[in-house]
């Protein structure tokens, strides 16, 4: 019954874009139907998730499927429910936002196509989390991957967009290849394609599966150095698609990784060390690259890489706990990592949607073309501020809660064992602290350059807040950030169920017994009370005294102009300089000569070091060599079908030879 409810939700989501296809381009009925269907899908799924989380009983369904080795087997347990909730929730809010952001009336040429693939992405993601069979998993995975390719390329008349979507397609093919290899290895080991615990499995095989999972799922999650597709794809897609991609699509990589590790027997410690090292590098380098960006959405995209790093740190601690048989480490690390999955989808969704509202109003993604938005777009700006505070992990919002859980795991891991064992968690905690400090610098830079101060260009002149369809979805996300922050114990049960699905034997300590969730509510109430009291006192004193207004202090210079403000690149200059060894910022400037120099220009940008410094050059070399085989790919379909048949026949003959 519950399982059918989820299947219905997925089917409704998948079909949400279809009615619009049969309606004329001028009609706006299709878009409302699509948003309504996604909202219904979310409501149905939430009922099922609520049931699974409250009863603790997984919902299962298994139907025959004619494909060999495949079964239409779904299983909604605590872990799947945990990932399913943001998929349906964020996508419904994004679809409502899309009614005003990407309306049929203004985008008749591609809005129907976008809604179709939007629904398919959601359905693909949901199928992937639900699948209990490898082929069903891959089917969902491929639907999601290919639909996202089309969604990224929505504005493919722009040159950058097309390049971004192809880069995504190529990278994701490589990732899927790793997943095929991983499932083949699983099949070769267990003789089954069901996603079930693999108990008796040789350690070498387990490690092989783990490495392939790390490559395949890491590519989707955007773990450095596998992140090359992520920044441009997030920047090119329409903002509500960016919110969906950053909020939930890349998390499916995390889901796959966590699920795979949960099926494997107790891991060796080096898996944990590898995960923690990857988490540290993704987190620190992700935020470092973000600081160098001038494009609002590209900057947010690099922050997704940073947050994936934080999530990996949590998972690393959990794996460490499982390998050392320390359940408290496992619970703290996994709960921190998983809660950060939720939190990131909430605040990054909020940030992408508010960035979209700004782009909608001003027509540019350049941070240094914005400025002064707090007076022009007060609601959007305030919502962005909330998202910025949350993503920096600052109290009293949700980002702090998940980072605190990861910290507690790291403190607890460092607290025992000899000095050498405590060094890795200590360095990880220091890295997390550095990531937090750099994220603060980066977001305060965006806030200052894009939202505060004087407008930096005429583009801001006519900007104003969007309508309710833009504001309300952002408001809901902001409220969720506040609720999880102020009442962290409200998500305790969700976390407990998800962790239980990961724990061997399904038994694990409750998160509330390991982390001071209720104390935080008290402290944060105190913080709000202090802020309120101080704010009231300040306003009272200001009202009692004489108040004057005038220009900002200009040190006596008579004609300050908006262009003299500190720009986003001047704010970041010092950090970009300190991180030059990895960022390799490109600076173009003309020499200034003479007493009365001519007008000049200055430009600096930080490109992706991994993509432009490593992947592109090596692929160019490889392309030169492999070009000799290009005659194999003439671009005609019938020849490709012939290849498929030949490969199949070869495979069958070979299989007969191996198992006569």
């Amino acid at each position: 019954m519950i399982a059918w409810l989820v299947v219905a939700a997925v089917a409704i989501a998948a079909a949400s874009g279809v009615p619009g296809l049969f309606l004329p381009r001028s009609s706006s009925v299709g878009e409302r139907v699509a948003a309504g269907m996604l909202a219904i899908a979310a409501a149905l799924a939430f009922i099922a998730i609520g049931h699974v989380v409250w009863t603790g009983l997984p919902a299962e369904l298994s139907l025959a499927w004619a494909v060999p080795g495949a079964a239409f087997a779904i299983r909604l347990d605590g872990l799947a429910a945990f990932f399913l909730a943001p998929i349906l929730g964020i996508s419904a809010l994004g679809a409502i936002y899309g009614l005003e952001y990407w309306p049929q009336a203004r985008h008749p040429e591609n809005a129907r196509q976008l809604r179709l693939v939007y629904g398919l992405i959601v359905a693909g993601l949901a199928t992937t989390t639900l699948a209990a069979n490898a082929l069903l998993f891959l089917a969902g995975w491929e639907v999601m991957t290919l639909a996202a390719f089309i969604a990224i390329g929505t504005e493919d008349h722009l040159p950058g967009t097309r390049a971004a979507s192809y880069l995504y397609l190529v990278s994701t093919r490589a990732g899927t290849l790793c997943l095929f290899a991983m499932f083949a290895l699983i099949y070769a080991t267990t003789g089954s394609l069901a996603l079930a615990p693999m108990d008796a499995i040789a350690p070498a095989r387990a490690s092989g599966i783990f490495i392939l999972a790390l490559l395949g799922f890491g590519l989707k999650a955007g773990v450095i150095p596998l992140h090359i597709w992520l920044p441009s794809a997030h920047a090119a897609a329409p903002s509500h698609v960016s919110a969906l991609m950053s909020g939930v699509l890349i998390k499916i990589g995390i889901y796959g990784l966590v699920r795979t590790i949960s099926l494997l027997p107790d891991p060796p410690a080096w898996w944990a060390v590898l995960l923690i090292a990857l988490g540290m590098s993704s987190g620190a380098l992700g935020v470092a690259f973000a600081i160098g960006q001038h494009d609002l959405k590209r900057l947010l995209a690099y922050h997704s890489i940073e947050n994936i790093g934080i999530i990996l740190l949590g998972i690393g601690v959990a794996v460490l706990g499982r390998s050392a048989h320390r359940p408290e480490l496992m619970v703290l690390g996994l709960a921190g990592g998983l809660l950060h999955v939720w939190n990131h989808s909430l605040f990054k969704g909020l940030l992408f949607l508010s960035a979209g509202a700004v782009i909608h109003a001003c027509g540019t993604r350049e941070i240094d073309q914005l400025g002064g938005l707090f007076s022009k777009m007060p609601r959007t700006s305030a919502l962005f501020l909330i998202g910025a505070v949350a993503i920096c992990g600052l109290p009293p919002l949700n980002g702090f809660i998940s980072e605190l859980l990861v910290y507690l795991g790291l403190f607890s891991a460092a607290g025992s064992g000899d000095a050498s064992a405590s060094l890795a968690p200590s360095l990880a905690a220091a890295a997390l602290a550095l990531i937090g400090g750099l994220a603060l610098a980066c977001f305060v830079k965006v806030l200052g350059a894009a939202f505060l101060g004087h407008p930096r260009s005429e583009k801001v002149a006519g900007a104003h807040d969007g309508g309710g369809l833009l504001i309300v979805p952002m408001g809901i996300l902001a409220v969720c950030c506040g609720v999880i922050g102020l009442f962290p114990s409200s998500v305790g049960r969700f976390l407990d169920r998800a962790v239980a699905s990961f724990a061997p034997g399904g038994h694990s300590p409750k998160i509330a017994s390991l982390a001071p969730l209720d104390n935080l509510t008290i402290v944060f109430a105190l913080l709000l009370a202090c802020s309120g009291a101080a704010g009231f006192a300040l306003l009272f004193r200001i009202r009692r005294g004489v108040t004057a207004s005038g220009p900002t202090w200009d040190c006596g210079y008579a004609a300050p102009a908006a262009r003299m403000q500190y720009s986003s690149s001047s704010f970041a200059e010092m950090l970009v300089g300190l991180l030059h060894w990895v960022l390799r910022a490109k600076v173009h400037r003309e020499r200034v000569t003479g007493f009365f120099p001519r007008s000049t220009r200055f430009e600096s940008h930080v490109d992706d070091t991994v993509l432009d410094g490593l992947v592109r050059p090596s692929l160019t070399v490889a392309g030169d060599w492999l070009g000799r085989l290009r005659w194999l790919q003439p671009g005609s379909l019938h020849l490709y079908l012939l290849y498929v048949v030949l490969a199949l026949v070869f495979g069958l003959v070979w299989a007969r030879g191996v198992h006569p």
Partner: protein, 303 residues
């Protein structure tokens, strides 16, 4: 009993902070051969500012007013999780050390945002420096906390600075010395003291904290001044407790020990400010990274 202790904690934390600034100024004046401002001058300054009128730039929005409010509220709550001397903090739980650090970060976020709200390039400079240097100071603070957590087996400041500290000095004195050095550097950096920032400078181009609050005046600036004193007080309490890991058994005697210790620490800050020149801005990151590395050595040395 708990109530009396909490009340004493709050009263000490509310009353004492401006005195520390007075001590620093006095010590610096004595080094320069001057008499210096009275010890209680900061109290008078805060009081005077609260009575004054305000001037607001037409560029600013509510974020400008939220800056001093939120940063003061954040350090006030942070003061409640920091134990003073051998007395446990009124609020303590596993992970309050992390909360402490992140509350300071919350205050910093809003201070920087308020500075950028003015649209002044000078305040932008100060904001960029503050954001850069404090990001580099975070790892040093956390590595030190990690060492204390390892020693005490807890992620709570009250336990880290509790009765076990005297033992830790006996067993692991070397590592603790390194942590104290690292924390002292963090204290100077976080509170914008020399050699990181000169609170007395009068040139906007060279300042960090003072330039960020150039446009604040009247009651708002009074709150900033008091908040800065409180921040110095709570970070000072951390270092002072590490240096006086004693408990006399008598509660009121312990309070006296604490007040003497933190006053001595303020005097030490004054001495440092008197005998050191300001570092070049470009050299500041090196000192902060060095503080982190010192903390890593402390962790390696911890048994």
């Amino acid at each position: 009993m708990k109530l009396v202790e909490t009340a004493t904690h709050v009263i000490v934390a509310v009353v004492l902070p401006p005195l520390l600034l007075g001590i620093i100024v006095k010590v610096k004046a004595r080094f320069a051969g001057r008499v210096g401002a009275p010890l209680l001058q900061t109290y008078r300054d805060v009081w005077k500012l609260l009575q004054k009128g305000s001037v607001f730039s037409t560029t600013t929005t509510w974020v400008f007013k939220a800056g001093p409010v939120v940063s003061l509220a954040a350090v006030m709550v942070a003061a409640l999780v920091m134990p003073l001397g051998s007395h446990p903090a009124p609020i303590s739980f596993a992970g309050d050390a992390v909360l402490f650090a992140y509350l300071l970060a919350l205050g910093r976020f809003f201070t920087i945002a308020a500075a950028l709200d003015t649209g002044s390039s000078f305040e932008g400079m100060g904001a960029a420096r503050e954001a850069t240097f404090s990001a580099l100071a975070e790892p040093a603070l956390f590595l030190g906390l990690m060492m204390l957590a390892r020693k005490s087996g807890s992620a709570s400041l009250t336990a880290m600075l509790g009765p076990g500290l005297a033992d830790a000095w006996v067993n692991n004195g070397g590592a603790l010395v390194l942590v104290v050095v690292s924390f002292f550097v963090v204290l100077l950096a976080e509170n914008s003291r020399l050699p990181f920032d000169d609170p007395n400078t009068h040139l906007e181009l060279t300042m960090i904290h003072e330039v960020m609050v150039l446009d604040h005046g009247g009651p708002a600036f009074g709150m900033i001044l008091y908040g800065a004193a409180l921040k110095l007080f709570i970070l000072g309490a951390l270092v002072a407790r590490l240096l006086t890991p004693v408990s006399t058994g008598n509660e009121w005697l312990d309070w006296i020990v604490f007040v003497v210790a933190i006053s001595a620490l303020a005097a030490l800050v004054g001495v440092v400010e008197s005998i050191m020149a300001r570092l070049r801005l470009l050299h500041i990151p090196r000192l902060l990274v060095a503080a982190s590395i010192i903390s890593v050595f402390a962790i390696i040395l911890t048994r």
